[in-house]
Assembly symmetry: D3
Homo-oligomer: 241 residues x 6
């Protein structure tokens, strides 16, 4: 259940049996010439909401914007500085904590957020010893990467991957955009990068991927794997002492 | 068009004819015993997206969380401190500015955000002289308040109003929740309030409203008025020198 | 009584009967070709001190500097960023709270401060549930605006108004400076503005006002109205439970 | 001339011949059982204004609040944290710099401000290479301390000193308050102190002083010395290349 | 060469041929009942200095303190919040950049720093497009972990590992402290943790390690591998376009 | 004993008899054409460690970086902004406090740090009433300056002084670098300075010093005086109630 679709007496009642909250977080950033700018938050949002339905747990509104400094050279990207993102996440956690939530499970769709999320958790936990936080980066789940290997071999890539493009086509079939076959340049070891440098090294925004291999059907499979895997992780997290 | 549903070459092309971006912003906070926790951002989001469609302009992902400190005593509410919200908005504006946007129109659904949004605009404009920012608080538009007066008389109230409840029922008919007739206590002159004090003065979260008067039909009328009014304001904003 | 003219045992004694403090706040910014740069803090200071005398309440030293980013294009203006102003007000409130004050009444002379003051109050109240804060923007009091309408009709304007110029002449007769008749350009709907843009739209700093209509006598009347009105509001604030 | 008593065209004209600004800064803190809470800012303000008159230079509104954490245990004290004070001073300097001021001379009345002021200057100068900042702590001028030695011997003390009490009586004769003879405890080497610890070590707020030796006549002499000394320093500062 | 052992004309000369700087960073935190509190910064420091000697590159003074919130429940630990650490690293980078350095290679000894370091790099690179930053987490180098597997099998663990204890004994033989054999509890999936929670789950501070297997000889081998591996990475980093 | 060379059970045991911690702090900045860039932290570090040995007290890892904005025009200098340094010191103090330390004695080697350290102490003490902080600026100890007068007369100077150069040669004999006789320009009264301005006024980085007079033997004498003097101060600080 999306918490924004409930009212406060319903939440109050719900808190008596579970103090868990699912929080989707993503980014607003370029995903290559045919990937959606919202890829990261749209996938995280769909996963969190499906898992929430599966388990009957509450889901918070999506944090769409993330730490995407390196993509700022491409139109349509915006980005939070890590310090802003840490403050943002700490404020949101503190707010929900104040009226009763204790366990917070983030479903993350964007690699650049990982640092800021964990930093925020560390700050928050320092003064909230009875709170628990957890995080799943869906595209790094071994269950997902194994299937991507089967589907895309070495051409899944590292940004604007075949896998994430496929999942968005499963979720938003009318937004499917074809692309000519061909792999983008492989990532250099240099990281992180400033926005100008990123665009020089990766001119169309992709890193090592060939999203001509993506299909909505493959996306459906990957989404199902991620959903089931995260569902089990959340179940454990909710049940842990 | 929602920018998250496009890709960067589409945005690049779009920027050649318009550098305008619509940004919906709301809150995650209690709206009385039958109003939705997401009321403020759901309405702002729907308005921004409809106006975006009407005018063919791009709409950014919704900033769902707002400054709701005074509602933190009610389950399901979370809140950004004004300083976090200022940083958040400045980062988002700076990001979109960096790759070409120049005009930013916020559609706001929550009174508590007004201060932080204007503060952020002032900070941003200080160092971006060619940018323009604007803001509509939809529930304060004279066209809207006049119609609310006709529909609800003195019982519209100040928080969890008949009008906003009605609009959410128009947008989400399946989330309509009945409530027994009766007006909540009228607002005191004391403002702002801490969360404990707010809950003491307004025990069920409403301020002076009687949402038993709300209907989805009235919501449709109000939404239409707001949509048309904001559409004209955005058109002017886009055309101004 | 100005608190800076007392000593700590006197304040300690005073706190046994009243924990109220009046705080004047204004700005240091251009007020058109003949208005004083200190207009906003000088008027707020005089009002707070007179009301303090009327009621026998303590008055804190004036916060002269405010949020005036949009006026920075004119010599003699300085400005606090909203984030600085929020920190400043929170520190001052926390300090006085720590040794016994509980009710804080701000007399504000500058529109640009309104956001930052309310933001600061919200932050402060979150962790000080037994504190109370209040704010009067003297130039927005209906009692004042009605009289201004009588005196100046449509020519009072929005910045460097006839009313505020008149009040400064009442307070500082030797600083009266004549100006040729004529209304400044009316405000555009665009707001807020960066400093360069403001000066382009309002070349001499005034917004819609004709301060050739100001006189010290009118200023005396307006000041008296504001003083009496605020006095009653403070009395209520002090007496409220 | 106080800049708050001028208008922007007058400042614009003045900037053609001098880009100097005098800024008084003090504190709002206990000064023992008979010293004024405003001692530090009232003296700094009077000195800056007299020196401004002597030299025909502009004087900014007083920064009344300073860094007084250690005095917070006494009623009537408030305090800015060093970080707030650094931001405050940087904002004020940046604001006046933006419309033409280049040389900033602070007249300081409070030891606790010294660190924050110098910190702010360092931050500001890093990015404003053509600006100049300077600071006089009036009570540390050798010309002043020599005369205090003659007047008060070893009983001048370190806080709520005979000298500063005397100067306030010269400036505000009607606020003279007698006190029984006797020296307060001498300062310990421990510094800085938290507020509780300070009040334990210095129960009536004074440090090593016997303000029964203060008279308005001695205050007049000390004020005259400080005024003349600072005047010469400002003159040199204004003339330096 | 340690930069602290040079003077500015030597650095100026050096910058003509190389703008690279090595920066060791670690932590001050418990490393189990027999591991050194300084383990992380002592190892990083030794590696950076040896690599600096090998390549003739300059090495900056060690950043000893890191992000160790989760270890604060154990005596002798201190920690920087992620936001402080980001500011710290950005300031240090900006400082060295201002007088000529352009390539910054961090040798990191502590997992908890990884997020803050990368966050700082992203912030710094946003406005310094010609700078380059890189980071090696020595204990995660595949060359190192393979050898640890050979030496310690499954008993290397995750905190206060056999490997890092061994390296400190190689570097500081007189600080070798024996410990009885036995593996500490294996890490839970829960992460990050607050300090109380960490100490509950890992009572003696170790995570899954059995440092009775550590010897100075094994430490020498591991240190040699890390040194050679990082040396090659730095060489590549320095030579890249 | 250096705390980084101990383990947590040793610290836990030590805290039963003493909660004191010594903290060396310095800078990374130019010290003239022949002085070491690390002068300030190397001397502070050596002093703190020797005093720690003398008294059997724990010594924390050195804070090498300090507030050196004015030296940023010279290669090899880096600097923390005062706000960063305040946060850094507050975090470190809060961390050690959390697991048992109560008395913190800083041995400082750099004048530019004095403000930030005292500011940090004030912030920290506000909420830690049972903590104690103290600071020695070794080069300002009267015992040291008297001996410097004997050794160097008026040629000791104010930055890159004969005394500090001599002490580094005593500590690091292999880093002794000769310099031709001659005094650098005397300091102007202007302070603080931006980096460009500093280099203009003091072209080789020294202020009023003639380090050709430095010898390792004089350095040994000065170091011994500073060590004994600080040892006594720390002893008193540890014993005070």
């Amino acid at each position: 259940m999306q918490i924004e679709h409930t009212n406060w007496p319903e939440v109050e009642k719900r808190l008596r049996s579970s103090t868990l909250l699912l929080l989707p977080v993503g980014s607003v950033e370029q995903h290559g010439p045919n990937g959606l700018i919202g890829t990261d938050h749209l996938v995280a949002e769909a996963l969190a909401r499906r898992v929430g339905e599966d388990l009957g747990e509450l889901v918070a509104p999506t944090l769409a914007y993330g730490m995407s400094h390196h993509h700022l050279g491409f139109p349509g990207t915006s980005s939070l500085s890590p310090r802003t993102m840490i403050l943002l996440v700490c404020d949101i956690l503190s707010g929900f904590y104040r009226n009763g939530f204790r366990r917070f499970y983030f479903v993350n769709g964007h690699g650049g957020n990982d640092s800021s999320l964990k930093a925020a958790f560390s700050e928050f936990l320092l003064d909230h010893p009875d709170a628990r936080t957890a995080l799943s980066n869906w595209w790094l789940l071994p269950e997902v990467t194994e299937q991507e290997k089967i589907f895309f071999g070495d051409s899944n890539g590292y940004h604007a991957t075949c896998g994430e493009v496929a999942v968005t086509w499963h979720l938003y079939p009318h937004l499917e955009r074809p692309i000519a076959p061909g792999r983008a340049p492989d990532p250099h070891h240099e990281w992180p990068l400033g926005p100008e440098r990123f665009r020089t090294l990766y001119p169309d925004g992709r890193m090592g991927s060939d999203p001509s291999l993506s299909t909505a059907e493959k996306g459906e499979v990957l989404f199902g794997i991620a959903r089931r895997t995260i569902r089990e992780k959340v179940r454990e997290f909710a049940a842990a002492p």
